[in-house]
Amino acid sequence: MTPRTKETAVYLPRARRAALATAATALLLAGCASGAGSGSGGSPAGPITLGTTLPLTGPLASFGPVLQAGYQKAIDDVNAAGGLPVGGGKHKLVLKVLDNASNPNNATQQARELIQNDGASALLGSFSPDLNNPVSTVAQQLHVPVIMTVTPIQAWRAGNPDGWTYAWDVFDYEPSTTSLFFKAATALAPSNDRKVAIFADTENDGILWARLWKAEAAQYGYTIAYSASFPPGTSDFSQYVQQAKASGAQVLLAQMLPPDGIALWKQIHAFGWKPTVAACNKCSASALFPKDLGALAEGTLNFGWWTPDDIFPGTQRLVSYWEPSTGNNISLEMKVTAYAITGIMTHAISAAGSTNSSAINTALGKTSLDTVIGHVAFTGQAFRTTDYMLQWQGDSQVRIYPTTVKHVPYVMPGLDK
């Protein structure tokens, strides 16, 4: 009996410990689940935090501060009006910003940090698929909603073949945008220039844009005479430019980072290649492009999705606020869109009546809102913006296509001179 008694005596505390451990684990997991998004918490007690991880340094540093300015202005406007109405009370908003240095690994880590450490109820997006796909993955895993812009929809969707449910995108849909380059070139540029050279880096959207341009060229009467693919961060394009020039290409379609694009434009001029159409997506989307390149930047094409000529409720007020300091349309365009998606998110939080992340996400799905970039309603987690073809003329990007809306005449690229 003694051994049995002893055994039983030992067994019972073990069982109790196991039960306690199980209960503690369950409580811990429950705690983690609620901590994953402060959002699960229901009615907020104090300020509501929105978080964002932005490329404030690194190769994409041209864009992070622009988005930050748009987010901050939207939040300042809400706070100036007394706060965001949620669940019967008004709550101040706080924007928590982290610098991911243009690094996707940092973006992943910081998105988690914003949710788990800083208590962000929702996230606002970073820049481009390379940074926003990792952020979307975190949002998906932790069930906290995120809205992003300047992230082409197809490249973003490719980041999750099962489909995003907590991530939302407000931007262009690549097949319609890439074809816009051919349509604009056909309508505006010399009629017999139909040979194309593609310069695209190996980032997600570089690969996708190059593939779409190659697939669409024939239907618009163009042939791909040369195509260069290179890693982001490439600075020497000597051999590529010489091959493009030798191919007889007159149309240059490029997709790359701003520092790489600045280097490419200099080398195109140095090697005497004179394309009559020169487009650089992403790389020319910064005020630094004409500042660094001077006359060489003139006439460079880039797509856009909003101009100050597109008047929606609140647009004029924002244009008046930013235009004196912005000085060019592209920064204004991103700021206004960042402002718009912040408004969409705050509207959803208000509609949800709490900071419960699931309720906010459900409210986002029901969005039907007039914003400063037009009426927004999501289809398949995304809202497709309207595409325009913009061109650097002086220190501004102006709309040149389609010609059915307010536009200015096309000018030949500075590279052609």
Partner: protein, 288 residues
Amino acid sequence: MSQWAATVVNGALLGGVYAIAGLGLALVFGVMRLVNLAHAAFLAGGAYLTLTLTTHTGLDPLLALVVVLPVMFCAGYAVQRWLLNALLLAGSQGALVATFGLLILIQNVLTLGYGAEPQALPAPYADAGLTVAGIRVRVIYLIGLALAGACVTGMHLALRRTRLGIALRAAAADPVTAGTMGVNVDHLYALAFGIGTALAGVSGTVVGVAFSVTPTSGLSYLLLGFTVVVLGGAGSVAGTLAAGLLVGIAEAVAGRAIGGQYADIVVYLAFVALLAFRPQGLFGTARA
């Protein structure tokens, strides 16, 4: 065939830019056996200093080097004399970590001062080209190669023909014995680091004119610089230039043959393979 010749020639010219990036690293490593990670930040810092001078005075970037070089030299001298020398007494690990700390510190200071967006140094030859023997080349690459050649020649002569050079070599070979012979090793180390920092300033200026510069853009040239230094034979001045040209040509030829997205793989595979057979680099001497 002429296209391939153009690829090789332009690759070699670009190699001059790489060689300048590696030269300062080679000197510091050759004299002190110190891997100077802050070289990347000094490169960017030199470019921004040149940018400030050209913006405020309208000076040509190359003329601005007259001011940039002594300023960078003094900064490098001070860093080595009053920071790194003390750390080197306890071995190179502490100094290595200190150069990493300097890298981060300087990058952040540059970001605060100049922003993180790419900025190009304005010069009439930044986007100019000319045709030499039927091959179109960039003027700034020619300038880069000429500067690399001048720096290598000057350094080679200084190390071989001057008392200072002989003292530097003595300090590099055996600092303890050199010290007992009356050589001021601390001063010589600081001189070497100062010259290396000034060379980083030259490199940054050429890069800023040829491409553009950001506070972090020195990092890619740090990697290239190390490649050039190791390939040339650590501490070999002439080897650094030769290795720079080789890396430039290899990158260009590989990019043309198999595509730019794979060029680095081929170049670094060849680099590793070469070191497997010749660990001392192309122009270094094997140690017993």
